[in-house]
């Protein structure tokens, strides 16, 4: 396996807070990498830097052999990195179906002024995707009428509709009801594996990490404190004390 995304020496501070204090991380093609760590450790900052929303003050990010450090989000998406958000970023006045279709259009050509957005081909592709996410029943509902868990799924579905090679997900299961969590993640993982997508996800639920991650990176104060297979990393007493303890109580 080769590195799809390669971060070297990323540094970024807000005021005095070091959100990234020398991050080195290689994401291997095809793997599922979980990021865990207490709030404020810089997990989201890493995603923001990798997707071009924030520019690191030092360090480089290489994707698929090309340097993408500080490139704008639009360019990075077109290269094949998509992301989902901790707080779902949906077009609230559009239906779920339209939200997905807009994502498909973004990939397949938004600058077509006459054919409708909900053209048969895109509608079909969207329906297929919604089906896999179990969102078909709410396809015609406005995004602002959905409950938080459903919004979260729709948010991820939009990112998947972009057909990325690498998907960065910021807390994909927060807001999803505990009883549905495992089923949701299972669906998600199946969809991503089928599409051959490499995934990085920030996660607080250690059961999810244990079951679905190939590797786990532990974030602490802008640094990676531990990195490796979940069984190994989660068994580390230091990690258990500093991260899991916090997560279990949160």
């Amino acid at each position: 396996m080769s590195a799809l995304l390669d971060a070297r020496g990323l540094r970024l501070a807000f005021g005095g807070v070091k959100a990234a204090d020398g991050i080195d991380l290689s994401v291997m093609a095809g793997e599922f990498l979980a990021i865990i760590g207490p709030n404020g450790a810089g997990k989201t900052t890493f995603i923001n830097m990798a997707t071009g929303y924030l520019r690191p003050q030092a360090g480089t990010i290489t994707y698929d052999g090309a340097e993408i450090t500080g490139r704008p989000p639009r360019e990075i998406v077109r290269r094949g990195i998509a992301r989902s958000f901790q707080l779902p970023q949906l077009f609230s006045e559009h239906t779920v179906e339209q939200n997905i279709a807009l994502a498909i259009a973004s990939r397949a050509g938004i600058f077509s002024p006459l054919a409708p957005l909900l053209r048969p081909a895109w509608r079909e592709e969207g329906a297929e995707l919604l089906e896999r996410f179990g969102l078909l029943p709410v396809a015609r509902q406005r995004a602002d009428a959905l409950n938080e868990g459903t919004r979260k799924l729709a948010d991820i579905a939009m990112a998947v509709a972009l057909k990325p090679r690498l998907l960065l997900m910021d807390e994909p299961t927060s807001g999803v009801a505990a009883s549905e969590k495992m089923a949701v993640v299972e669906t998600l993982v199946r969809v991503l594996r089928q599409a051959g997508v490499t995934a990085v996800f920030v996660e607080h639920d250690m059961d999810v990490v244990e079951r679905f991650a190939d590797r786990v990176a532990v974030w602490s104060q802008g640094r990676i404190a531990a990195l490796g297979p979940p069984a190994e990393v989660l068994a580390d007493p230091a990690v258990q004390r500093d991260v899991i303890g916090i997560a279990r109580h949160a």
Binding site: Y53, F85, Q89
Partner: protein
């Protein structure tokens, strides 16, 4: 270059003085617009109309005072009185009846509402004061002229515009800064501006702060208008040109910047008066050229700070 300066020195000096005088007035309006926007998050398109109404009201009160046999010096407090009256009447009226209904609406609707108010006030002012030019120059003649040295030349200029107006503007700037930093009410206003939710959570009555701020902003606009009344003859349309000009100042300085607005007003005021003197056709264009140039280089304005949206 030296030759040009020798020939045009007095003209340039005059243009600078004109610029300072008009900058003082622009600042008074722009600072109110800025303050109201900072606290209410609503851009009041009708702010220029408050300037116009303040100007007309001042002329009326001044003329009335003169006809009532009051001495000429009374024209100065008359200006102030007119501005306070306009602010106290229109401020609460507009805030209570109109703005209060739209604080939670989309920005586009807020803009439309204040634009509608602008349409209403522009005609209201024509209905009350007519379309014939109105002038009231007692305060200017009262204060006489002062000789301003400029290089080798001496330029006689009226005291009202070159001394009084800048003094009022500087006093407003300093007073506002002191008020916002040192008084409880001022700090409450700043708190609401910086973080409305946190301020309300701490028990601050945001509605009272809005009412107070809007009334105060209206008063500043009316005062700007009242002070401008003696320097020009009043015609319909000053409301429109004032809002556009003061928006140019606010946009160039950066939304919410008070000291920045003062510097920008000076820059735009002088830019415009220099244009009036040396390239009269460009008079109206110059302020916007300055604005467009600044915004092209710094979209957040000269003194503005970039806000990163949280995602």
């Amino acid at each position: 270059m030296g030759g040009w300066f020798q020939d045009n020195g007095p003209l340039l000096g005059l243009a600078l003085l004109d610029g300072i005088a008009s900058a003082a007035l622009i600042f008074m309006v722009a600072v109110g617009l800025n303050l109201v926007f900072g606290v209410l998050r609503v851009l009041n398109v009708a702010h220029g109309s408050l300037f116009a109404i303040g100007a007309y009201a001042a002329a009326s009160v001044g003329v009335f005072a003169a006809s009532a046999g009051l001495p000429a010096w009374a024209s100065l407090p008359a200006l102030l009185l007119a501005a306070i009256l306009v602010g106290l009447v229109l401020g609460p009226l507009v805030e209570r009846l109109l703005l209060r209904r739209i604080y939670d609406e989309e920005p586009v609707l807020q803009l439309l509402v204040t634009f509608a108010l602008f349409m209403i006030l522009e005609d209201a002012q024509k209905l009350i004061w007519g379309v014939q030019p109105v002038s009231f120059s007692t305060p200017v003649s009262l204060l006489g002229t002062v000789d301003v040295p400029f290089g080798a030349d001496v330029i006689p200029y009226n005291t009202y515009q070159v001394i009084l107006l800048p003094l009022v503007a500087v006093a407003t700037l300093a007073g506002l800064a002191l008020f916002l930093r040192r008084t409880l009410t001022g700090r409450v206003i700043v708190a609401v501006t910086t973080d409305r939710e946190a301020a309300t959570a701490m028990g601050i009555d945001a509605r009272r702060v809005f009412l107070l701020t809007f009334t105060f902003g209206a008063m500043l606009a009316a005062l700007g208008g009242a002070l401008s009344a003696p320097t020009t003859s009043l015609v319909p349309g000053i409301g429109a040109s004032t809002i556009v000009l003061s928006f140019a100042v606010v946009a160039t300085a950066g939304l919410g910047q008070i000291e920045g607005a003062a510097l920008t007003a000076l820059m735009i005021g002088i830019g415009r008066s220099v244009a009036v003197t040396f390239a009269p056709e460009l008079e109206v264009v110059v302020p916007y050229m300055i604005m467009v140039l600044v915004l092209l280089v710094r979209p957040q304005g000269l003194f503005g700070v970039v806000e990163t949206r949280r995602i």
